[in-house]
Symmetry: C2
Subunit: 320 residues, 2 copies
């Protein structure tokens, strides 16, 4: 019971042995797989960030629509997205899995393929975990450890009235398949935060309306007005709207699993960001934070309508 | 998807909401539950230790022999034992669970009870995790983050020929029930390491013979001779021997889940430890590290017999 191979007989299905053999390390790793703990060394005085997510077969993915590499990729990506949402630097990951016994080897190898690609992309060390096979469905639980940038971690609760609200990409309709291959906006967040002080940030997992509401509420019961014409609607949202009969904007506002970032900056900083967009990051200005609580949408120049935030409901997934 | 409540409808079964409400924090926590990540602040220059373990119903515990508080306690204890095995200071834990839907509330509340007791005992912060209910069996995955002491993390690979080998408690027979309530030897390890330089250490999860072999192998294919009369046999090992017909010493050597520590120190340091035992830690001298590979047991003053290491095999559990 340690950060190393478990009590399973050795074999290809031992994911941790595979990780160890491939030695995916970086400069932070003082001690890798093979002892009771792994050890990391951070920049002096740095804040250490930690986040975790558990994905379960039948609840977060279905085996007939998601391959093992896709599941491994996504399980790691959603954690990296949380690090991105603090404008943090990903450092290392621990991966624990309960593998279905009848396909344990295929599962371990496939999960590894998906995770490795992303780990390499982000210079993320894989420093351990726990592998077990059982007769139950696939469960994968990943913990990612990161480091705040020199500017500090960006929290959700720093928005102020007058702040301009941005998102980093087009929204909605990810259920058509995009949700399986989110691109965690790690580099984008660091690039933006280097150029401009981000006051509050969150990653969009539950839908723009619901996640923005988290920022507004935790920043002191603030509100916001979004410009309908400025909200970047993903082509998938139009596609999905054909099937659901809902408005594409509605999908952009409430669909989950976009994994884009939503952030706020002071007005003068926003002007700078718009005039000189950060290298390698796409940003869309979508609205303004206000002291009056509640979320509103402006249609055209005059019509402002209250928007009733309704987050992504996994149970009401239209495709299930 | 973040270190906070999941997408479940709110309720008592949301373990993370329970953790948040009870605010089990300490001086390391810069940012607790409720943002995309939690943030920790360590002593400047400290090595950060991380370890993780996933326990699964039917594989690591059975619902008819283990209560929810016992499962929560044990899932956290085995991780703390890994921190102890580095002579580390536990700092914070992340807890992810897949709860059986039909008893999700009882499970969350029970697990929390067991974990809370141990967290309070060790000034361990609970800083997040992920809760989900499903139709599958109970899975609990815990990651513990710690800090190396000022003397540095104790690894497995530092043993040298001539080192004296110690254990921190009586061994064997934990399957009779003790394995559900291990006492992680966190304080003991710190007390010993403060008095004496520990060269190599491991926690006994797979049995003395197998775990000591990890130390010997990783320290450069060393060997050891243990004194049969010095190995502290637990009363449970005698009890179990009645049922199994095996020798009690055999249980002490090979039974798993003792969660005592096994460590080596230089001979002169051993003399000091024996003359002035560390406060609050019980230690037993059991043998000596040698350059000749292999594990040997000395019976009486002259008879030295090779011991064939056989670790604890969960599948061969005599009580299952």
């Amino acid at each position: 019971l340690s950060v190393e191979s478990s009590n399973n007989p050795p074999g290809e299905f031992d994911l941790i042995a595979q990780i160890k053999a491939q030695a995916i390390q970086n400069a932070y790793v003082a001690l890798g797989i093979g002892d009771d703990c792994a050890a990391l060394r951070f920049r002096r005085g740095a804040e250490v960030l930690v986040t975790t997510d558990m994905l379960m077969e039948g609840r977060h993915f279905l085996r007939d629509t998601a391959s093992f590499p896709e599941i491994g990729y996504k399980a790691l990506a959603v954690n990296l997205s949380d690090i991105a949402a603090m404008a943090g630097i990903p450092v290392a990951a621990l991966v624990s899995v309960a593998l279905p016994r009848h396909e344990a080897e295929a599962a371990a190898t496939g999960l590894m393929l998906g995770m490795k690609r992303l780990a390499n992309d982000h210079d993320l060390a894989l420093i351990g975990g726990d592998t077990n096979a059982w007769n139950g469905p696939l469960v994968i639980s990943i913990t990612v450890i990161g480091e705040a940038s020199e500017r500090g971690a960006v929290r959700r609760d720093g928005a102020k009235p007058g702040d301009v609200i941005f998102v980093t990409g087009r929204l909605g309709g990810s259920l058509l398949g995009r949700h399986l291959r989110p691109r965690p906006r790690v580099r984008e967040a660091l690039a933006i935060h280097e150029d401009a002080e981000i006051r509050a940030m969150i990653d969009l997992s539950d839908g723009l309306a619901g996640d923005l509401a988290h920022i507004l509420k935790s920043s002191g019961s603030l509100g916001a007005t979004l410009d309908a014409d400025d909200i970047p609607v993903h082509p998938d949202a139009y596609q999905l709207a054909i099937e659901t009969g809902r408005h594409p904007l509605d999908h952009a506002m409430t669909d989950g699993e976009d994994f884009e970032l939503c952030f706020t900056v002071a007005p003068v900083v926003a002007a700078g960001l718009l005039a000189y967009p950060p290298d390698g990051a796409t940003i869309f200005k979508i609205g303004v934070v206000e002291s009056e609580p509640g979320l509103r949408v402006r249609y055209g120049p005059y019509k402002v309508v209250p928007y009733f935030a309704r987050g992504f409901d996994h149970l009401a997934d239209p495709l299930k």
